[in-house]
């Protein structure tokens, strides 16, 4: 059992003022994880920031000095050795520095390492020790992991209803050891409300099965409720931890070699995490590519209100949203390769439709994508693509127009369709598909529930005022999509290194969850392993809860190697309930989320 610490740093106020904030959340409509202040006065702690984005094809780098791009560099990405392209780009950039040794240099890295490992299933086989208690059966979670259920049960308030069975645990852990697992995750139902069982198991492993260390504990990764997602998050984290450790070793070498002052990795939510601190939580660095592109859009553009951002690439189109000037976050967490996690992430949906997607026509219907079979015909590729239609229409000068024209002719001829008409139709179908996907995203968001009367009455119908286009093919397709949706559009100045700029402009962030139940006299900050006794439950109030959350965030940021001041912290979610039993108020419960305000530097 975690020893209950005395509540630190809480000058408990008198309980005279009753909190009237009952069940209200600060972020009412959706969990807008991010408040990005686009600002010029983000304090520059170092003179030079190198941003590097490892993309699928190329690795781009950028050198930033006080919001100005000094230089960019590019190298081919070697999928089997991500490190090589990264070092090449870094070396090229640092060479351009006038006097490298004199100033501090910070490296912000957005890499596909963890994303690829998960997508390609290259993580280690992981044993998941789960404490499900009663409820939905493990078989029905739809999780394809190696689950080892054990006895024990924590209920929704965080009370232990059934203890762990050490005999059973030892048997299970021996079996895991004998089966040769090198990665282990431990996840209990309602563990963010009571860390005890997960911590006990970790202690047992340390004492009797040390070769299974380190283990990933569910509650440390997220204080949010969702047991299957917490299992997924912890299992993926454990499975990629060894890869991350190797990666950290290599980057550390580079850091030493070039005398870099700090290295941050970009996270799925657009914030950064200190290189060393990412050892325990590599899962947070997944999907940093889409995050880099959103951060790039933020850094490079004027304030965006309610807009949909369409990033059109060769194979896919990524759709993300701005709501009231902020990038929208996923409500529950990132979804990667079909795995639903609790990893905070910017909202993004991928559409299997891009400039190089394969086009087909059966005389009645035109289909585009989702597969890509190489370059467009105009560039010597095998199959007709939307890019060829654009080239044939004379709207872009890419490769040989004549080739594109012939391919269109060949496809249309059996059905008596002229090349020009076919090209037009392909462009229309492309625009229609993107527009339909955007419509679906918005209607899905608008059916998302809200839980209080005031929210229902104030419920806004989310809709975009503007379409913002990014990516090579956007220039041509965007006007068509905008016409389709009857919206105005804006094209971001095309910048090859936009993602690298996004990585460079981002800032480190952390977030913590606080749960205080005054009837149980207990306060928990799961991400910090922090449990405290509330010594004076009747005078613990919302102000005290906020102070604890802020203090916890400061401690946590410190531990993560990115110290902050109280002014940099904001409370993003807040829920207070009176607990009434019989006819008496027996206590209150508080659930708060605090985070370091995410920031992005404006880049010109």
């Amino acid at each position: 059992m975690q020893p209950a610490q005395k509540l630190a740093g809480t000058g408990l106020l008198s309980g005279r003022r009753r909190s009237r904030r009952i069940g209200r959340r600060k972020n009412e409509l959706l969990s807008l994880g991010q408040i990005i202040t686009e600002t010029k006065d983000v304090e520059q702690k170092v003179a030079y920031v190198v941003g590097i984005d490892v993309g699928g094809t190329n690795t781009y780098g950028v050198l930033l000095n006080e919001g100005t791009v000094l230089t960019t560099a590019k190298a081919a990405t070697d999928p089997d050795d991500l490190h090589r392209g990264t070092t090449q780009v870094l070396a090229a950039i640092l060479k351009s520095l006038p006097q490298a040794a004199a100033e501090e240099i910070e490296l912000h890295l957005s890499t596909t390492l963890t994303t690829n490992a998960i997508v390609e299933g290259k993580g280690l086989p992981t044993a998941a020790v789960v404490i499900p208690g009663p409820g939905l059966r493990c078989e029905d979670w739809g999780l394809n992991f190696n689950l080892f259920p054990v006895k024990g049960y924590i209920d929704h308030r965080g009370r232990e209803q059934a203890p762990l069975d050490y005999g059973q645990l030892r048997t299970v852990l021996s079996r895991i050891k004998q089966s040769g697992y090198r990665a282990v995750a431990v996840i209990g139902k309602f563990s963010p409300r009571n860390l005890q069982h997960e911590l006990e198991i970790e202690k047992l492993i340390a004492a009797e099965f040390p070769e299974l260390l380190p283990v990933t504990l569910g509650h440390r990764l997220s204080g949010r409720l969702n047991f299957p997602r917490r299992i997924t998050t912890a299992v993926l984290n454990a499975s990629i931890a060894p890869l991350q450790a190797e990666f950290i070793r290599m980057v550390q070498e580079v850091k030493d070699r070039y005398g870099l002052s700090r290295v941050y990795l970009l996270k799925a939510d657009g914030g950064g995490v200190d290189l060393e601190a990412s050892r325990q939580r590599p899962i947070e660095t997944i999907l940093s590519g889409p995050a880099a592109s959103m951060m790039g859009a933020l850094a490079l553009s004027e304030r965006i209100e309610n807009a949909v951002v369409v990033d059109i690439g060769g194979t896919t189109t990524e759709i993300s949203l701005f709501y009231r000037g902020e990038p929208l976050a996923e409500r529950d967490g990132a979804v990667i390769a079909g795995y639903a996690t609790l990893v905070p992430a910017l909202f993004s949906r991928s559409l299997g439709l891009g400039g190089d997607s394969v086009v087909d026509f059966d005389g009645r219907e035109i289909t585009i994508g989702p597969q890509r079979e190489g370059n467009p015909v105009a560039l010597g590729g095998p199959r007709l693509t939307p890019t060829d239609a654009v080239v044939a229409l004379g709207a872009a000068a890419i490769g040989e127009k004549e080739r594109a024209w012939r391919a269109l002719e060949k496809m249309g001829a059996p059905f008596g369709l002229e090349p020009r008409e076919l090209a037009r139709r392909i462009v229309t179908v492309f625009a229609e598909k993107v527009a339909a996907a955007i419509d679906e995203i918005y209607s899905d968001l608008n059916r998302r529930p809200i839980y209080t009367v005031s929210q229902v009455l104030a419920a806004e119908h989310l809709k975009p005022d503007l379409i913002i286009g990014m990516g090579g093919p956007a220039g041509f397709f965007l006007p068509h999509i905008a016409r389709q949706m009857k919206l105005s559009y804006r094209l971001l100045p095309y910048h090859e290194a936009a993602n690298a700029i996004g990585a460079a402009a981002s800032r480190p962030t952390v977030s913590v969850t606080l749960r205080a139940d005054t009837a149980l006299g207990r306060l928990v900050l799961p991400e910090l392993d922090y449990v405290a006794k509330i010594s004076r439950p009747f005078s613990f109030n919302l102000a005290a809860a906020r102070r604890e959350a802020v203090a916890g965030t400061i401690r946590y940021a410190q531990r993560m190697g990115t110290p902050v001041t109280p002014g940099e912290i904001e409370i993003t979610e807040e829920e207070v309930f009176n607990m009434v039993r019989g006819f008496y108020t027996v206590g209150k419960q508080y659930t708060l989320t605090a985070q370091v305000k995410p920031k992005v530097q404006r880049v010109s």
Partner: protein, 438 residues
């Protein structure tokens, strides 16, 4: 696999009063349990936002005195609207089934509403049913099976004389619990005799009794009635931990009930064991609706209840046998013997509004019409606790009213309108959903 649409509206900012069972906190632990179980991520379950019901939609089902605006607050409009959302999901085929997991509840709210009784002001399920019937031009037969521990006197009152809506209420015996009604001899009006069924269960009844009633009475009756929609008004206060009742049903019992009944739409009613019962019962119901295995949903305090298989109580077997006989002979009954031979069947009663402390006297006359189910005239006098008295006259047209009933109803309305002592006069036509007031 069945797709289940979940309209979850816990009204986290609304309470009847701070320490009332119907308070902010009621569905908090249920939400936590649903979230932690990850139910919203299951492909079988889709969550929907409730809409706000319009004043006209409420007025199409109930007569609120003096007006909908003055009786129903915003939370009521959202709860009714959310129930309509659930109904629309099923009727449009968007989801196979739907669960309106919301509050405030509605089943004690009657046709005429002077205020709140039994924590209910607006009858969510009736508002939905009337809305859906209008969508279908009146061609929709519904069955409401109310499994709350309290007699569903409100819904019964609304459908008392409606041949297209079967109403079955299973509840703790009225002699031992609010509202006191719901005896086996309450069987419906002359236009819908036998389509109101009441199954009072003795205190202490559990899963065995409840499931016995479902299997031996409710399912055969539903097979006969052939409704287009089965609606389960799902109260969760039969639970062994409920503080207001004396029953012994478990989460497993509720889930099995849901599986057997296979309702199209489930609408939450009462249930005030907010920590010990609701989180588990609701998860059980959702899983059962989705056709998922619910055998693992067991509440912490439930050790003795699941292991103990008691035989069904003799009393319950007798009640079921009696009602089976009523059901199978309902069409052979001589209605003149039951309702008298005069042109109108008349009854008088007192209705107590416990929540708002109002006493209502009602005198009602139902036209015995061979061509339709007959229009109703209601005189209602409500005395509020501070002495204010409101008197109203209401004329209710049935669905598919015949021409002569329409004419007679018009005439009755004008007669009421001419009476000076009445404060308000109403005419409700369910087909148009229009309420005329004067």
């Amino acid at each position: 696999m069945t797709q289940v649409g979940l309209v979850f509206f816990p009204a986290f900012d609304w309470a009847i009063s701070p320490d009332h069972p119907e308070r902010e906190e009621r569905l908090l632990y249920t939400r936590d349990q649903i979230m932690e179980e990850g139910l919203f991520d299951l492909p079988e379950i889709m969550e929907f936002r409730p809409r706000v019901a319009s004043v006209q939609e409420i007025a199409g089902a109930q007569i609120c005195v003096p007006s909908v605006e003055q009786v129903a607050t915003k939370p009521h409009l959202i709860a009714a609207g959310g129930t309509i959302t659930a109904g629309e999901l099923v009727l449009s085929g968007k989801t196979g089934r739907a669960f309106a997991l919301l509050r405030p509840p509605g089943h004690h709210s009657m046709r005429i509403v002077h205020g709140a009784r039994g924590f209910c002001t607006i009858n969510n399920e009736a508002v939905m049913i009337e809305y859906l019937r209008r969508l279908k031009g009146g061609k929709l037969r519904c069955a409401v099976v109310d499994t709350d521990a309290h007699h569903a006197d409100g819904t019964q009152d609304i459908y008392y004389n409606d041949p297209d809506v079967l109403h079955i209420s299973i509840h703790q015996d009225g002699r031992t619990l609010y509202p006191g009604t719901g005896a086996v001899n309450e069987l419906g009006g002359p236009g819908a005799y036998g389509l109101t069924l009441n199954v009072p269960l003795p205190p202490g009844s559990g899963d065995t009794e409840l499931l016995y009633v479902i299997e031996h009475l409710v399912l055969p009756v539903l097979r006969d009635f052939q409704p287009d929609l089965i609606i389960n008004a799902a109260g969760q206060d039969n639970h062994f931990t409920d503080p207001l009742t004396n029953m012994r049903v478990t989460a497993q019992g509720y889930a099995r009930l849901t599986e057997l009944l296979a309702p199209d739409i489930v609408v939450l009613q009462g249930g005030y064991s907010i920590e010990g019962a609701l989180p588990y019962v609701n998860v059980g119901i959702i899983l059962a609706l989705a056709g998922l295995d619910y055998s693992g949903v067991i509440e912490p305090e439930n050790q003795e209840f699941t292991s103990k298989q008691r035989p069904v109580r003799e009393e319950v077997i007798r009640t079921v046998a009696y009602l089976q006989a009523v059901w199978s002979t309902r069409e052979e009954q001589d209605l003149d013997e039951i309702f008298g031979e005069s042109e109108y069947f008349q009854r008088q009663r007192y209705i107590y509004y416990d929540t708002d402390n109002i006493t209502e006297f009602q005198a009602e006359a139902i036209k015995r019409c061979p061509a339709c189910s007959g229009f109703r005239k209601v005189y209602s006098r409500a005395e509020h606790y501070h002495g204010r008295v409101t008197k109203i006259g209401a004329v209710l047209l049935p669905w598919h009213a015949c021409l002569s009933c329409r004419r007679a109803a018009e005439e009755a309305y004008h007669q009421f309108a001419a009476e000076k002592e009445l404060d308000h006069v109403y005419l409700l036509d369910p087909m148009s959903g229009l309420e005329e007031t004067g």
